[in-house]
Symmetry: D2
């Protein structure tokens, strides 16, 4: 269980890193949206390994194929099934994984939970699983953009201790994509890339923080008390592999302020109720307030490192393991489209729920 997400715009992902492929079924997509594979492929390309010198060299084309739910280039309102075939299967590269649990991977926990696991390349816990999310997220983003005027952008905010200065209100897609690390602060981006390259040569890995902004969300999205907008955003982000933390608006830093400092005063502007500051991150009481929604996601360093590590084997004996083969020194550049996708899935679901219950977007 647990492979579906959303309430009215509901996605179900499937697939292991090895086997017939990975995919997603989207149920509840509004009808008559123009949609072809060309709307999905760009985000898959931003997600895939091998796209630059600082990510995993694994080569996968990751071609999306829409199997259902569209007709003559438009959505039917019926389930959209998207499939990406697996290509780069090299089971022999993983034979040691059949015997040993990789530290800080999910090998041991899948085995403990299910009493069985696909030990080839991580199986279902592989980052490859996110292909389905990114494909569905591309559909969600298109709906948000065309039907609700909402734009979602994510970027690398920090790699280890190298932070970037980014104005979440003004940053553009082009600025983000201008560097292979997807950090729009050019000076920081340079440093990040050098750090990642150094880390790769050391056979090690680094983590960091992705920030995401959603602009144009109207007031009223979010379903308290449990499906608060930040609760669903947090769930979506924390369901991404390697994520360890989530904060919205002022976040953990907000805990250092007093109420007077933290409160966002209201003031009319352009005929609209606006806030002077945005410590709330665009959400108050679990409902969007019309300001830009922004949040940050912490990602731990990738667990696969090219060094010998202490571990345990399937016979429950202590042993050591040294990973071989392809090595992803930093997941952050590829995490950017994943974060955008999950944000889009949350927001479009809440848009439809708001329209359903209250009759307005």
């Amino acid at each position: 269980m647990g492979n579906s997400f959303g309430h009215l715009f509901r996605v179900t992902t499937w697939g292991e890193s090895h086997g017939g492929g990975v995919g997603v079924v989207i149920d509840g997509c509004p009808p008559r949206l123009a949609l072809t594979e060309a709307d999905i492929q760009p985000d898959l390309d931003r997600r895939r390994p091998g796209q630059s010198s600082i990510v995993s060299p694994r080569q996968e084309a990751d071609r999306a194929r829409i199997l259902s739910g569209t007709f003559e280039g438009r959505t039917l309102g019926t389930p959209i099934s998207i499939w990406v075939q697996n290509q780069d299967a090299r089971p022999e590269a993983y034979s040691e994984m059949a015997e040993k649990f990789r530290p800080s991977h999910a090998d041991y926990t899948y085995q403990a939970k299910f009493g069985i696991r696909n030990w080839q390349g991580g199986g279902r816990s592989s980052a490859r699983e996110t292909i389905g999310r990114v494909a569905a997220g591309a559909v969600a983003r298109k709906i948000l953009r065309e039907q609700f005027g909402v734009a979602i952008l994510a970027y690398v905010k920090q790699v280890q201790r190298i932070g970037a200065r980014v104005d979440y209100e003004r940053v553009t897609f082009e600025e983000i994509e201008a560097s292979i690390v997807r950090c729009p602060d050019r000076v920081a981006a340079e440093k990040m890339i050098r750090l990642i390259e150094r880390t790769r040569r050391a056979g090690d890995s680094v983590g960091g923080i992705v920030e995401c902004a959603a602009r144009g969300v109207p007031p009223g999205w979010g379903e308290p008390v449990f499906d608060r907008l930040e609760a669903d955003l947090g769930k979506g982000m924390l369901s991404l592999p390697a994520s360890k933390g989530f904060e919205i608006g002022s976040g953990f830093g907000g805990a250092l302020l007093t109420g007077l400092q933290h409160n966002d005063a209201f003031r009319m502007k352009g005929g609209k109720v606006r806030t002077v500051t945005n410590n709330s991150g665009g959400v108050q009481g679990g409902i969007s307030n019309g300001e830009t929604i922004y949040f940050r996601v912490a990602f731990k360093p990738v667990a696969t490192v090219m060094r010998e590590q202490e571990t345990v084997d399937v016979r429950l004996e202590n042993t050591t393991l040294k990973a071989r083969g392809r090595h992803d020194p930093c997941v952050l550049p590829r995490a950017v489209p994943m974060v955008e996708a999950m944000a889009a899935l949350v927001l479009v679901d809440h848009a439809l729920r708001q329209r359903g219950q209250c009759g307005n977007p």
Copy 2:
């Protein structure tokens, strides 16, 4: 929508701060559990205002009444309805709230979403709503304790910049409850209390961090890919009023480590697979690994401050507002049982789901 939480152990809360009361319906509670109001009241007492000099002086008895689902002191397996009547209704104290949107409260967003709101004391967005959660959480904790051997403890880890040193593996309930601020580090607790009292006198408020540990969770709980254990814990916590951030294990700090530093080596201990460190926070690949689960929740300072603030009124004109009456300078001591409750709701639900799908706890 959005007032239910959980999948097999499913709670639905209801109620505004003013009106007939607040409550919860629990659907899916295992049968034959010994349960009376006496199991619930202690947690409600830890949650209620007026319990000490550093929290809101609002006086409410918050007496829980079980209306259904038990028979001769045991659960029937049928829905458990718990009701707490409202007592301290003083609508006149809120008349200004009918006209003005309080900054960083949910007045404006509820109005924008629903086109109507109960302006008395915050209505549904009041912290009073959490009574239902805490009552249901008390039931969930009892099941976890008695049927699964799981213990959940939360405590105040930080108030503004005052941090506490706490060993999440060994801290006891008594140590936590020994201070009114619910911080088990006695030196830090003293400082926190002084800060909160100073803040109250200044008519201001402070935020901070609550940490929570769940000990005894067996390997195998958690439902990837979307209902990862940390994703559901994160959602539960971020659905609490005033929460702005969540991190598990190493959290945001983990982003500063390298993979080699961060990875938790496996090593056999007492016949069990254990990890040498616990940066994972007891969860790997979204599934518990048998180590203690621990996480932190950031709470912003309470929005109600006793100072004049800039805002907008319902006629969309700029104005100012100064809160009157009762003032809660720090929500953290009362947030502790809320965090424990949400953790318990998440864990018991995953325990039942694991038993349902895989046939073992």
Copy 3:
């Protein structure tokens, strides 16, 4: 589990026949609907025992109290909690039920499922449980009537072998309520009443068929493939106590026709696409087609009869049992508001889902 119904307009019922009462929480009700207890009480009065000489003489006022979700007479969009206190508790009348499983009641199955049961008056399996449904159904019917122009009417179509002639397109509420058996065919109603009275004197019971019509449903409601409109209507009806069958439109009789006879030809009428006949019962491919939706529900005779019957006791020994006390010779007149309520719950949920996904009612 299983005590919630609906997706966007979601109700959760709770309560046993003995204990603190019965009730319902409605999550997802559209905001700003005028709503007070006066909107709910009439349907509860039509459902309650003791309303006429041909139903159970059990005396219960069944006063609904709205505990949350409204403000100044209008819905807030937040959960509406409705509570009806139990009054007529006479546990001593049920002492034999603690020992013996009543034939064709749920005593044995609840015991087998949960290992415990409230043996007082049927507990959760009591018809009293339907109070929550009828209360929520009254809210749903009001929304359907005022916001979507949909009217729902049910009536007794058959008692044992006595059938009634009713035009489902034209029958009125007044015609139905004119007789205590709620059959608008006056001649048949007379016969039905005499049969029920005869049956009551014999200490026996009779079943029959309730028919229901929903007029004014626009084309487009229903969510294939699983949440077809007739599938959800069928589920709703078959979740009512004592129901054994459901058929829509031509139903079982439709199996006797050929395709040529059964097909509903389309023909323009008043600028609208209409069907010449309505064997489809207003639903085609699981979606409403704009014609009147009509269906029938079969109810078995009430299981409580005033005669000695063979059974088994809790020690698993053969024994006999003779019911005592109050006796309901025919549930049909009281089933009418239950059927209407479930129909309303299904339809309003589909109205909101259609609006959510497709943006139109």
Copy 4:
């Protein structure tokens, strides 16, 4: 929405009759079940057109391919994705359907709901959609058989007015499959086949009734009050194309009996609580009682007939339509595996839910 079914064993189907194929994702399948395509194909072969002279001559191989969720021939506990490619696409055969709404098909209602439709062969409303259900049902039946000792069998009980005599307690799979009409009463089967052949020659179609029995279900499955076992069975059956009615146990006929006649007396037998009769159909109070569960589903005659019929075109003008090409005179033989599949999906879901909440099967 509405393309998922089940709670713990949850299936999501997708696909139109024309396009990339049809399929299903199963989420929540217990791990370690032996499973290959060979477990699924036989039921698909029983469902497919062209299998005999009395069903649609449309030729489709309907080869199932498992894309995920298994490893070395066993289930992983992760989502199982099953795909069946479309082969027999002849869009030109459907060109008239682009212009005209076929009577008693879903052309008009899909258009009204979504504002768009795939007019090739019925799109999502095609019987082809049931492939995903039958594939998932084969998995569910295997679990029920191997892990819970439950056997499910369906058969044709009636074609138009030709009824069959079948003992639902003893009928075997071989007896059912012995005739192409899937009726185990040999004399009736002969008559049915002759009727269907006559009907086909006349260009018309006939409907009838499928009966289904589930043997070996232990007491305790079913989740009152809404997810009663018969309510979920009813929903499952009424979600099948062309179904118009459902009845369990005594069904509509039960409405003709008195309580004394209808009640199933309890009596100990072989150390178990058993009922002397089984008018309840194996379910009491919405929960299985250990007796064989049996129910009947009414199917209307197939809407496609080879005669001219009155209808309306997409320009909303009256016109006529005469279907061409392949013609399925009776859906019943192919409906048998569909009914079995839906029964299995309902039962396995309730088995897992019972294990989850109550800890026993």
